[in-house]
């Protein structure tokens, strides 16, 4: 049995802004084994992004606890969280979030500049099939290519986890498949744990594990015995 990379107990996040408080996460208990490809599904507003942000150290819980391996994320201070993100986590966002004034290579270099044991930017871009485009600016790349740059940037530091929030949300199905392939490849080759939020239920067929969200709670966890390759999935 693989070691558990993320564990949450009673994890809650309440937004106090506005007239009424919003319970984005309502006492979530969750265990994520290391090395798995995990898909998070659920209706809009169910708390998926909130969970991912807390696990990635971008946001703080208002109640309960979360651990990364044996370290309590909920007890870390600002500086610890920054170190944690720098050393262990790779992010991929829906809106690629590339720095417009930096080339593909330089966008990856943003990470390799500060990571402890990174691969070279060119190697990371090669892994996602963008070797020939390293000197292009984001404006000169298609949406899929931009998202692959973002993945290269996320994996360049050889992270233990990849947190992806709707990585294919802004892409057509064919490009989406390329991106998912790249993620699956990283997961398979480096045993990097991947948490992928998606609205595309079909993607769940790629996953080791599917977590379904509803109203800030985990409604269902499903473990796949047979997985399919991204290219086999019908959108």
């Amino acid at each position: 049995m693989a070691e558990t990379i993320y564990r949450t107990r009673g994890l809650s996040r309440v937004y106090a802004t506005g007239a009424a408080a919003v319970r984005a996460l309502d006492a979530v208990d969750l265990d994520v084994p290391a090395g798995e490809f995990v898909v998070l599904l659920g209706p809009s507003g169910s708390g998926k992004s909130t969970l991912l942000n807390i696990l990635g150290g971008l946001d703080r819980a208002t109640g309960g606890e979360a651990w990364f391996r044996d370290r309590s994320l909920t007890e870390m201070d600002e500086a610890d969280l920054t170190r944690y993100r720098r050393d262990h986590v790779g992010f991929v966002f829906q809106f690629y979030n590339l720095v417009a004034s930096l080339t593909a290579r330089e966008n990856v270099q943003l990470v390799t500049d500060i990571a402890a044991d990174p691969m070279s930017p060119d190697e990371a871009l090669g892994l996602v099939g963008l070797g020939p485009r390293v000197n292009h600016f984001p404006a000169e790349l298609s949406g899929g290519e931009q998202q692959r740059v973002a993945i290269a940037r996320a994996i360049a530091k050889r992270p233990e986890v990849l947190l992806c929030d709707e990585p294919t949300g802004a892409l057509d199905s064919q490009t989406g498949v390329q991106v998912l392939d790249a993620l699956a490849e990283v997961n398979a080759r480096f045993a990097t744990t991947c948490l992928v939020i998606t609205h595309n239920a079909a993607i769940r067929e790629m996953a080791h594990r599917v977590i379904r969200f509803q109203d800030g709670r985990v409604a269902e966890v499903e473990v796949n015995t047979t997985r399919r390759a991204a290219s086999e999935i019908a959108w």
């Binding site: 946001d59 966002f93 979030n97 500060i114």
Partner: protein
Amino acid sequence: MVSALSRKLGRDLVRLWSQAAAIALVLACGVAILLMSLGMFQALETTREAYYDRQRFADVFARATRAPRALMPEIAALPGVVAAEARVAGLVTLDLAGRSRPGMGQVLSLPAAGGPPRLNVPILAAGRLPDPEARDEVLVNAAFAKANGLRPGDRLIANLNGRKRDLAITGTALSPEFVYTLGPGALMPDNAGYGILWLPDRAAAAAFDLQGAFNDVSLALAGGADANAVIDALDRLLAPYGGTGAHGRDQQLSDAFVTAEIQQLKAMAWILPPVFFGISAFLVHMVLGRIVALERPVIGLLKALGYSNLAVAGHYLMLAALTAAAGILLGWGVGTWLSRALAELYAQFFDFPYLVWRAQPGPYAVAGLLGLAAASGGALQAAIAAGRLPPAEAMRPPAPPRYGRTLSDRLLAGAGLGQPAMMVWRGILRWPLRSGLTLLGLALAVAVMVAANFLDDALDKLIDIAFTQAARQDAALILAQEAPAIAVEEVRALPGVLMAEGQTSQPAILRHGPRERRIGIEARPPGADLARTVDAEGRPVALPPRGLLLSSRLADRLEAGPGDVIEAEFLTGRREIHRLPVAGIVEQYFGLGAYMQADALAALRREAPRIGAVNVALDPAAEAEFDAALKDIPALAGTVMLTQVRRSFEDTIAQNVVIMNTIYITVAVLITFGVTYNGARIQLSERARDLASLRILGFTRGEVSGILVGESLVLAVAAQPVGWAIGASIAGALAHGSQSDLYAVPVVLKPATFAAASLLVLAAAAGSALVVRRRLDRLDLVSVLKTRE
């Protein structure tokens, strides 16, 4: 290898170059002016100190009519005195080869023992000291020699107390007493017409009939000695011998001028650079605030990637720092150039043996650090905001601003404005702080222009009052000795003289309560028409039959006003103390003056009226005959040609005003451009979507850009009255800061000054708004709507 973040920084700077340049230029102005005034201030002060120290410039000075040499040991023994030196001094007329007009010379004796004096030691620039035994050798000041093309070995003719003497120049020298060499009655140094002549003691004493006596004494004091006590003691010792009142360095003419200049530089350093630094800080604040708002997703990303809050804040701070660095470098360059130019200007007026402006690290560091502090201060809030932005929040688009229906909205709605006008007003009212600061920035541009033009008008008024209204004579003849008032008839009989009026100046100490001031009381015949006393509007004020008229600055010094009684201790004649009422206040921009009727003065002193100088009006056609006649009048110590004084003053002023105005106009345009251009660019970026939507809805380009340009222009117009008010107070501060006992500048603010300032600033504002409008015209509607913000 260059880090990716540094690359981003570099590319951001390139992308924002026009906004960064506008900020850097404004900052450069502040750095340059601060560097110049601070550097020059320091150069003047250290040079002066070293010069005075090395040449043993005296601390206390006094003149008398004729004091015996035997008094010197007693003077030297006064407590606090470390050195005392007696001299023979006197004014002489000079007949210079190649000059039709007689020049004037100040004779000073060199010690009888030979060698240089012990105090006020001249530095030999060329040649040698005169032989102590020689009767026809003279050392002259270098500036006089240079202006007249004289060299050691050349000769000049001096009318020494009625006897014409042919003197050989043995050398030229500089003296700490004559850094600023101003002849009697002059306003600007005239090195060609006024010279310092050092004669051996024996020759000087013989010329002025002062064998075994002296009429000038200088004292050096021990550090910590009570100068006032020494001055009082010296006054008591010299009183029986016609002492006219000892004074310290503050009333030594040359030093007073250098001090006034230093003070003016200081005023400049404290008044103008803060304006520029304030505006730079505001611009950085505005621009960086906008950049950070636009880059929220990037900030979130950097944090997600593991960059620390400090690194992110530092990244944005660096953007401001690099902009500041460009401004500082430019400011250093311009400031160095300005300092050189100013040093050259000073070389024309001040005779220091070695005033070279050298690039000292201190002023560069201060100007640079303050510039950097201003930019960082402006950047701080935005940078901290970037550092503090929680990463999860940064990843989300910002919540749309809340447009509540506020009171101002209801007022606007009631005003029945169209939608575009509503958008302009909403934009202004929704960010009141930013609108207020923009308005303040533009107001400062107006203020700088007002302050610049004020000087022009002030000097016009000063020249009008000083010359057209008050000192209207063409020339003033200074008599070697006071003469009965009837002597004016002899002058009237000279060729070319149309009018002649006598006057006298009597040294006296005026006291009012605890305040006192040594001054020359000028006495003129009633109804004098050539030299008049005038009020602040230039209207002549008749001399009262009783009492004194005080110039306004003297009245301020004495804290006396009309009706107050002043105690006047005369330092000549019977040396009596009289109580005189202040009959009125008059305006006098040069020096401090006190005036009374000649008859009243004579009656007070129980003497027949006497005169020491004669003011004349000349027939321009007969000037040559007049000049020729002057060379043969033995009783004449010198002649002040006021026509020439006036001309050289006006020329110098005109030249300086042109330079100053060019600088100030450049500065005002830069400020306006910096503020308006950045303001409009920021609005364009904030409202591009709104504006593009309006275009898609069918609004024309003109209507849409009207909204953008409208906001800038509304603020520019509203800034005008504020700018006028600030400008008036800057003008007041500059006038006050440059005022001294030697001169004052009136505050003159004409409607035309305000109008010109407003026109320039509004034009610059409209110009920079139009530059931004061209960008708006090129705006790609589709791409604006597609971009996520």
